[in-house]
Amino acid sequence: MYRSKRFARRAERPVNLDTFVAEDHSLGLKAMNGPADPSPTLVMQAGRIIEMDGTPEEQFDTIDRYIATHSIDRTIAVEAMATSSLKLARMLVDINVPRQDLLKLLGGCTPAKLCEIVGHLNVVEMMMAMQKMRARRTPGNQAHVTNWRENPVLMAADAAEAALRGFDELETTCRVARMAPFNALALLVGSQTGRGGVLTQCAVEEALNLRLGLKGLTTYAETLSVYGTDEALRDGDDTPWSKGFLASAYASRGIKIRFTSGTGAETLMGYEHGRSMLYLEARCLLLAKGAGAQGVQNGAISCVALTGALPEGVRAILAENLIAASIGLEVASGNDAMSSHSDMRKTAKLMLQFLPGTDFITSGYSSMPRRDNMFGGGNFDAEDLDDWMVIQRDMRVNAGIHPVTENEVLMVRRRAGEAMRAVFESFGFPSITEHEIEAAVEAYASDDMPERDLVADIKAAEDFLAGPSTALDVARALLDGGFDDIAANILSMQRVRISGDYLQPAAVLDANFGVKSAFSDRNDYEGPGTGYRLSGEEWERLRRIPQEQSAARLVPTPRRASQEPWLTEKGSATTGRDNEVVLGVGPAFGESLDNTLCGLNHREVISAIAEGVASRGLQLRVVRIGDSADLGIIGTRAASISGSGIGIGLQSKGTTVIQRKGLAPLNNLELFSQAPLLSRDAYRQIGVNAACFARGEPPMPVPVRVDNMARLRLIVHAMLMHKREIAAIDPSRPLQALEISP
């Protein structure tokens, strides 16, 4: 039995740690277009829906009833349902059909109809549709901020950094539920230190959630989970009406909410009744809409690995995002829970939301390392931030994260720590030490934090929750502590609650507490030249990643002032004696360039070649080819005046050729085209070989390192050095003798 070593190697790749399961709709293993999914139908009688998706009213389950009563726009339903799904699918992609028209028409569609429509679209078409249908013009992002030690100083520092990085919303949760008040407090103080206007939430059970909101510690909630079958919904201890009431209850206190749903949940709970995941999700989305939710977080969320295990599962996830957007809901589009072991697969999936833009590209980017993520580990975390920002720059896409410098981060983390200390002091909470603040500033993860007395913290957190203090007292403590700007931001977060403008779809606050929502920042995409374009200040900001360097910094100009010149031109060079090899160097050699691409000093290069030539009893004569940067020309010229007929051409970046008089420029004896791979030993061997050619002896192989990444790493340097070589060309000095000072 043979075994392929390549198959064996591939078997070890991360993607093969993922699970892939065959479709079987009887087990709920069908992402979309399920054989047991109903066909779209709608029958109305006297303004009442009496049949929907094949089910007569008498047999409506709870969700059917809710959707038929609350979700479907009955004034347009007949027209919408009579329009072919293919036509509606084409309208979604057609730039000539405005978003508003589609919102109206799709508002009359049943769950099965919505599935049939998106079923006509491939992922590229879905992305085009998403670009048009998302609610807010400007894409955004949400971060998760947690740490397993529940250290409030670290949480505030992490929140400050996440806010500085441009996240519009921050979400935390707790390992120990009783720490929730402190986590919410740390998130509030930290976020408003990093940037005013960042919305925060603490994902805990509803009663506690509402209390935190009432205290002004949080501004939104996305804990309102719904499921697409009655049984699953009941397992979640809810009905459409209870969730709808809760949504109104939150709004009555000025708290923004979004519902949570996603493909795969019903299958996981065992109550999918053989229906496809997407069909059930469409029911969830209509339920959420009917309840008056301004938006949802969806995109399989915590079930992503289940949906993703199926054929076209990732397509179905984009389809559910698109359905949500197409019925007017804000979409926080998943990408939060771990979706694959493979970075390649994770990124590929991410692009489906990243490129078209959604209201929140992730419904929680893990802003800290995975170990500290109390949501079960983030799909993308603190270590992936630079990749994310490079991809934004590559594609000229705003996916909601700003590049920041290390210094800015250190400063804002320290301020958040100090602000927390002031609040803790003022409230009489267990004190925060300078040592803790320093640890939080520099921390990689919560392992780097000194232990706190968790029992004392929990006690203080409980008293805080039970007591009368609110975010106003937090602001006052900061004012007393001299943190006026943070106090002002926290106060502004309270002020915006009075009008509740941020309750509208897809609303976020900018740094001046201005509301950007589906209404004030309406997505007006209608094809090229319209909609959100990453430009102006925002593009300037996103393109300037800290890793970007100027050309002058990548290839510095040699500093000569303090040095004696070591290469002196001594007039025109002529043909020399038999026992020589002529080395022709480029126009910039030893002048405006002084190192090769691999960092070898030009003097060293000459001395290595000279050594090699001398080892075979010949002499090296060095000339400058001043009128060409072309290696073929440089080599040919050097050979043309060589007494032995053997010349070496050497560009300043280190690329080298051995040439014989009379050969065409590109028909050389030996070419060393990969300058980054040429070490001092290689140049010595080039000298030896040139001498061997001159003596009619066979050359030896030149030692060259194998480095497949060299071109990738150094192509920009190579280009800049070559540019400088060209700039040094002087046609009036084609061939100059060079004297090398010892």
Partner: protein, 128 residues
């Protein structure tokens, strides 16, 4: 909340305009939590905005929310709990709907709860 009492437990609204929420006012201890709480009139305004933009369901939610501004927090949580599956008898739900209409002048919420009562009865979601 089933017990009938004469005490008015409805939440009162602050009349402080948003411009009054300043650092100065905070420094002088002139702000109370009610001053930074959403107002009924604002939720009604948000409902009108949503409606004008074609967001009917969102507007209805805001109108219910406007009604709930006056409802104390513990009553909200209790009501939510009683709307969960199997928590309430049909008559309890009807009584609850009645109370929202009578005590809190919340007709839309009342109708919403009544609608829940009908569905719960039809779909076996009531406590027997």
């Amino acid at each position: 909340m089933n017990q009938i009492d004469n005490e008015d437990i409805r939440r009162k609204e602050s009349t402080l305009p948003p411009e009054g929420v300043t650092l100065e006012a905070l420094r002088n201890n002139c702000l109370s939590p009610d001053d930074v709480t959403i107002r009924k009139s604002e939720l009604e305004r948000q409902a009108r905005i949503a409606e004008a933009q074609g967001y009917e369901q969102l507007a209805r939610n805001f109108r219910r929310a406007a009604e709930l501004v006056a409802v104390p927090g513990d009553v909200l949580l209790e009501t939510y709990d009683r709307l969960r599956p199997g928590r309430s008898r049909y008559v309890d739900l009807l009584a609850m709907a009645q109370e929202f209409a009578a005590r809190y002048d919340a007709p839309e919420t009342s109708a919403y709860i009544r609608e829940a009562a009908e569905t719960y009865r039809a779909r076996g979601l009531i406590r027997e």
